[in-house]
Symmetry: C2
Subunit: 158 residues, 2 copies
DNA sequence: GCATGTCTACTCGGATAACGACTGTCCGAGTGCCCCTGG
DNA sequence: CCAGGGGCACTCGGACAGTCGTTATCCGAGTAGACATGC
């Protein structure tokens, strides 16, 4: 039960983009420098966000990434799902149907109770993440931090 | 975000023990055969449960494992915690304090909003698992399956 | 017949390889801007 | 002065190693019971 660090990075970066004027484009290099992240490795995660439509990539000079849709339309779950796959942390291997004590298939019409439990716990985790958007997270950023970020990042873009 | 398969195995085995008369001892070899699991590898997980006090191990002939306490006193979370560590799926690396856009420590007295979110989602997951005990899971086992398991496993112990 | 000592078989536990996923790094493909040149 | 074309710098994207955790396997330490033996 471990999340790749890409989750933390991407959430921070999404919030960072949300702090800037809408449709602002930020190159990967600036994102990486801003938080001291390895630029090349970061690329791998950003690509996944692009594939999921959360980020939008533009190539060439003045290119970079921008939010794929409004910050209020992106939930934390969307980010986690794009990076981790969004599948249940395990898929029941139906071991009750294996080995000497195996049950016959017709005895297993009801889903394995353990699988049901894990699924419902996973749903709870998912539901919590779905309840918070990037916009919500952005609102919590102190004003002076947002101002500082804007100055630093927009200045370079001029 | 992936759980080791040991979680499924151990939950099934705990439920299996709960189906038998209290304090029944079952050797590792029988457990493994019953569900068709690799016996040697299973040992690693069982040891973790023993360390956590969920299972109790007895060595020598007629030895094996039994539940460390009543099935109603063991939650699914206890098992997951014993195997996975029970820690939050990521610990915030405070990347907001790194890189060129770093915030100063005195600006970060409030916990990172992203960390707070992940923690609350993790608590939801944990809470769900804490709400179900091995006894609850055992109740869902069909009567004829429980009977069959008792016959098979207790017979060998005679 | 009973107590005792030894021996065996059975159990768990720790140490040791093989595999796969996550992490980290490099270079190539594509594009928009800028500058130079010619009219 | 203006239009067009070429070159360049900048961007993302995919391909290639390194490291760590999970998976899998083996063998050794310890114990409880059973058996044989002597009283």
């Amino acid at each position: 039960m471990k999340l790749s660090q890409g989750v933390e990075w991407c959430l921070h970066l999404a919030v960072l983009l949300a702090q800037l004027p809408e449709n602002t484009i930020l190159p990967r290099s600036q994102m990486a420098r801003h938080h001291g992240l390895p630029e090349d490795y970061l690329a791998k995660y950003l690509k996944q966000l692009v594939n999921a439509g959360i980020f939008q990539a533009t190539t060439g000079p003045r290119g970079g990434y921008r939010l794929g849709r409004g910050a209020a339309q992106i939930t934390a779950w969307d980010v986690v799902e794009a990076l981790e796959g969004g599948q249940s942390p395990f898929h029941c291997q139906e071991i009750r149907q294996c080995g000497e004590g195996a049950a016959r298939p017709e005895e297993c019409l009801k889903t394995c109770g353990i699988q049901v439990l894990i699924d419902s716990a996973f749903e709870a985790w998912k539901y919590t993440l779905q309840g918070v958007t990037i916009a919500n997270l952005e609102e919590e950023v102190p004003d002076f931090v947002r101002e500082r970020n804007r100055r630093r990042l927009l200045q370079a873009g001029t």
